[in-house]
């Protein structure tokens, strides 16, 4: 069974936020599951720490949100994708509190939790998740097998001459 991951190399992210709008377009401009957050700038000696960090569900190996859900609406599939079933969600918000990455949102209108399901409706039909489908101009959003992604990220990092 293939394992699917969405992995983002923060070092390369420019903060252009295209992934946010790509996600939103996929969900008919109504909602988005990925948000780019600014980290810094903080002066450290003569240098600045300044990053843009896309925040999205990590599809954890042992998802705390899964255990926190009293309705068993959240489950990790064999391929690694953690899916929140909106039909089963009761809106108790336990998953929001449980997520260490602040990646679960809430739909006030429907009174249910919302999170990135890794576009499983696309993945199951052979399409790459919207944010990872070659939209990023820094090519920093990867989808696929986690081991090979980490290898690619490391290879690119070795080649780079910038900080």
């Amino acid at each position: 069974m293939s394992k699917y991951s969405l992995i983002i190399d923060d070092e390369l992210c420019w903060g252009c936020r295209t992934c946010e709008v790509a996600c939103k377009q996929e969900y008919e401009h109504k909602i988005k599951f990925i948000h780019v957050q600014e980290d810094g700038p903080r002066a450290v000696g003569n240098e600045f720490i300044y990053f843009h960090r896309p925040t999205v569900c990590r599809h954890c190996d042992e998802p705390p949100c899964e255990g926190a859900c009293p309705e068993s609406a959240i489950s990790k599939r064999d391929d690694g994708i953690v899916v929140l079933d909106y039909d089963t969600c009761s809106g108790c918000r336990n998953c929001i509190d449980a997520c260490p990455y602040d990646s679960v949102g809430f739909d006030e209108e429907k009174q249910i939790a919302l999170k990135c399901n890794l576009c499983h409706h696309r993945v199951d039909r052979g399409l790459i998740p919207a944010c990872a489908d070659n939209v990023c101009l820094a090519h920093c959003i990867y989808f696929g097998d986690p081991a090979s992604i980490h290898e690619q990220i490391e290879r690119k990092r070795r080649k780079r001459q910038t900080k």
């Binding site: 293939s2 070092e11 390369l12 992210c13 420019w14 903060g15 252009c16 936020r17 295209t18 946010e20 709008v21 790509a22 939103k24 377009q25 401009h29 988005k32 810094g40 700038p41 903080r42 002066a43 600045f48 720490i49 300044y50 990053f51 843009h52 696309r122 039909r125 052979g126 399409l127 790459i128 489908d133 070659n134 939209v135 990023c136 101009l137 820094a138 090519h139 989808f143 696929g144 097998d145 090979s148 690119k156 080649k159 780079r160 001459q161 910038t162 900080k163």
Partner: protein, 715 residues
């Protein structure tokens, strides 16, 4: 991952049941990116990048992806309207295209009879690929006055590069520069003119070193090997200081300097006037850093300068462009593979020919507003905006009676907005073509509904210098919207210029493409057409300048009565040039940081883009904020000698505490009164446009650097 491929359009069609996919070419900014447009039931449902496009390789930006929110916006103007109340009353009635164009034509002819063709001014904003057709119309009508952003945006790069080396040197990202110096630009956010952030990112992935010149920290500056955090407006001094290092340490390209430049000795003399001690004092950049950057840039080959508009919106506009070009030249990076290339366009009729510049009678050309003052600009058919406002308000040197703005919102984007507003209020007749009733359009007599890029056929990137043209294909029709090209083609017939125009605009595209032996119907089946790629052409041909050399010393500027060598002038309103003002306005205000999602005044009504930036933001150093009693998120007043506006404060440590950074072009389409909050947060309420503060050659105003005070808004 073999089962997954990027941009799998066939699978996309199948899964979502789209009816068709049309390849086209986005123009949510200046254009540039190839796109796949998915359509269902006659409506655009999804936009994605075209992986086969050589410009963007399938990637896109926020604006392109959110195009449908603009196109199908409920507030969009989809039929012509005529104002039925006083200016600014917001009272409009629907009229037909025939009524609208006949009225405009009748007015144009009447003013030409009574006051001369020069009393009719056509205008556009930033480049929206309608420049050539607008110039064609004005030139054939006989008006030398086309009001653009060209005095302080891109026009100066074209003018100065043509007089220095024959064309605009474009970074050859395809062949991966090994050192990139980003100067006054945030290419990954703005994706400007000939450039996209994607090839820049790839060059860094391939191991390029990075130098960033910017008063404000960007992510690129944080990643840079050297970040030169200069005092705003001192770019020319910094670049001359770098030239000084390169000359005196003999890091220049000796073969190029010996054989292909004009004016080496006077150039050396000039750069010797800028020793690093002096440059450090002017720029606030430590001399060691300047030296380090100069050495990096001069010794790594090939190297490139990714320049941006920030260097042009200053009193040193033309000299900033020139001195950066001289850096490219003396280091031997001009027309070198992986450096900056004078790309050849495909063999088609170019924008100059299509723009019919040769058909404007000489006596009309001599009447160009500001032609005696801003002589380099005038040579390139560019005028300074204040010249137009003065001609309306004071009728000097002659009256301007009619304005026709096409995709332009000068109330928001031109310096000294209050004067702009007064001039537009006074104009005898004004027509506007736009997507929405903007603060500028609200002052018009007639507003025409303009087509977006999804609603037109055109040769995309026609005006650019990267050597490609690409087909923009019409996908949909919205209401009665028409492209600027079709609209002007129609109007041209109504003012009696039909002999120089076409039955329909497709024939104009055929005429442009004719030298390539193509018709539009052939070209639209192609992905792109590229000019022949050749490097170091100067070895055979020389440069296209009067001396056939790369002109360090500009013989053209000399003839026009300007300093033939670049120099540094102090910004008109700075702590040093205006110490008395500085006492009352103790911060340097910089403006116009580019934001993902917005394109100048556009897109504030598109929900997915507006949610990225709810309010106008001024960035302020935490120490400064503390001193002024300002907290994160407070509404604050920014005040200059010319007025005051409100922004929300964001504490940002990536700025010198003496500098604050405001945003530009903010209006509020959600405010339904006809002003749409045009004066609330409009940074051009603060900027100056007096002639003496403008670049003497191009007429560029110093909108990027002025003095301000900042304090919390009283609640």
């Amino acid at each position: 991952m073999s089962e997954f491929t990027y941009s799998n359009w066939a699978r996309e069609m199948e899964v979502y049941g789209y009816d068709s996919m049309v390849k086209s070419h986005c123009r949510m900014c200046h254009g540039g990116c190839g796109v796949l447009v998915y359509v269902k039931d006659g409506k655009v449902k999804k936009i994605a990048g075209d992986p086969d496009c050589p410009i963007n390789h399938g990637t896109l930006c926020t604006k392109g992806l959110a195009s449908t929110e603009l196109v199908y916006h409920p507030d969009r103007l989809t039929h012509p309207v005529r104002r039925i109340g006083p200016k600014g009353s917001g009272k409009w009635e629907r009229i037909t295209w025939d009524e609208a164009l006949d009225t405009i034509a009748e007015r144009m002819l009447r003013y030409r009879d009574l006051h001369g063709a020069e009393s009719v001014v056509l205008g556009y904003g930033t480049g929206r690929e309608n420049e050539a057709v607008i110039y064609r119309f004005a030139n054939l009508f006989g008006s030398p006055n086309v009001l653009t952003a060209g005095h302080f945006c891109y026009g100066p790069r074209i003018a100065t590069s043509i007089i220095t080396c024959g064309s605009n040197p474009i970074v050859d990202y395809e062949n991966h520069p090994k050192c990139i110096m980003v100067w006054g630009n945030n290419v990954v956010i703005s994706n400007p003119d000939c450039y996209k952030g994607e090839p820049f990112s790839l060059a860094l992935d391939e191991g390029a070193k990075l130098i960033v010149v910017d008063p404000r920290l960007t992510r690129a500056a944080a990643r840079a090997n050297v970040w030169l955090q200069l005092r705003p407006g001192t770019d020319a001094a910094l670049a001359l200081g770098m030239c000084n290092v390169i000359v005196n340490e003999e890091l220049y390209d000796k073969d190029f300097v010996e054989n292909f430049v004009h004016g080496w000795e006077p150039f050396v003399q000039r750069v010797n006037e800028y020793p690093l001690e002096r440059v450090e004092e002017i720029t606030w950049v430590p001399r060691d850093k300047i030296r380090e950057a100069a050495r990096l840039y001069a010794t790594i080959k090939p190297a490139a300068i990714q320049w941006g508009v920030a260097i042009e919106q200053q009193i040193n506009c033309a000299d900033n462009d020139r001195v950066l070009m001289l850096l490219m030249g003396i280091t031997g990076n001009i027309d070198r593979m992986g450096g900056q290339v004078l790309f050849r366009p495909p063999n088609i009729r170019n924008v100059g020919q299509f723009g019919a510049h040769g058909m404007l009678p000489r006596e009309q050309r001599d009447k160009r507003l500001g032609g005696d003052m801003f002589r380099l600009a005038s040579r390139f058919s560019i005028i300074n905006p204040k010249c137009v406002w003065d001609a309306i308000l004071e009728e000097k040197p002659y009256p301007v009676k009619m304005l026709f703005f096409i995709s332009s919102n000068p109330v928001m984007t031109r310096d000294n907005a209050k004067e702009v507003y007064r001039a537009l209020e006074k104009a005898d007749f004004m027509a506007v073509a736009d997507f929405f009733l903007t603060p500028t359009a609200e002052l018009a007599d007639i507003v025409l509904p303009a087509a977006t890029w999804l609603e037109m056929d055109y040769i995309a990137d026609f005006w650019k210098r990267h050597g490609y043209i690409l087909p923009r294909r019409k996908v949909i029709q919205v209401g009665e919207c028409r492209s600027d090209h079709e609209m002007l083609n129609d109007l041209a017939h109504r003012v009696g210029m039909g002999e120089h125009w076409w039955d329909d605009f497709e024939k104009a595209l055929d005429w442009i493409l004719e030298p390539a032996k193509l018709k539009w119907r052939d070209f639209k089946e192609m992905d792109f057409l590229r000019g022949e790629v050749a490097y170091e052409k100067y070895r055979e041909e020389g440069f296209s300048t009067p001396t056939r050399k790369f002109e360090l010393y500009s013989t053209v500027l000399e003839k026009m009565g300007y300093d033939p060598l670049p120099q540094y002038r102090e910004t008109p309103e700075s702590p040093y040039s205006a110490p008395e003002v500085y006492k009352e306005y103790p911060y340097i205000l910089i403006t116009g940081k580019r934001l993902p999602g917005f394109f100048h005044t556009e897109n504030r009504q598109a929900p997915s883009l507006r949610e990225l930036h709810r309010d106008p933001i001024v960035e302020i150093h935490p120490d400064t904020a503390g001193r002024e009693g300002i907290k994160q998120g407070d509404w604050v007043v920014i005040e200059s000698r010319r007025g005051r506006i409100r922004h929300r404060a964001m504490l940002f440590a990536g700025l010198d505490p003496r500098i604050v950074a405001a945003q530009h072009a903010w209006w509020f389409p959600e405010k339904k009164d006809p002003g749409h909050g045009w004066a609330e947060s409009n940074v051009n309420i603060l900027t100056d446009n007096s002639y003496e503060t403008c670049d003497p050659a191009m007429g560029a105003s110093s909108v990027r650097t002025l003095l301000c005070k900042i304090y919390p808004e009283k609640t």
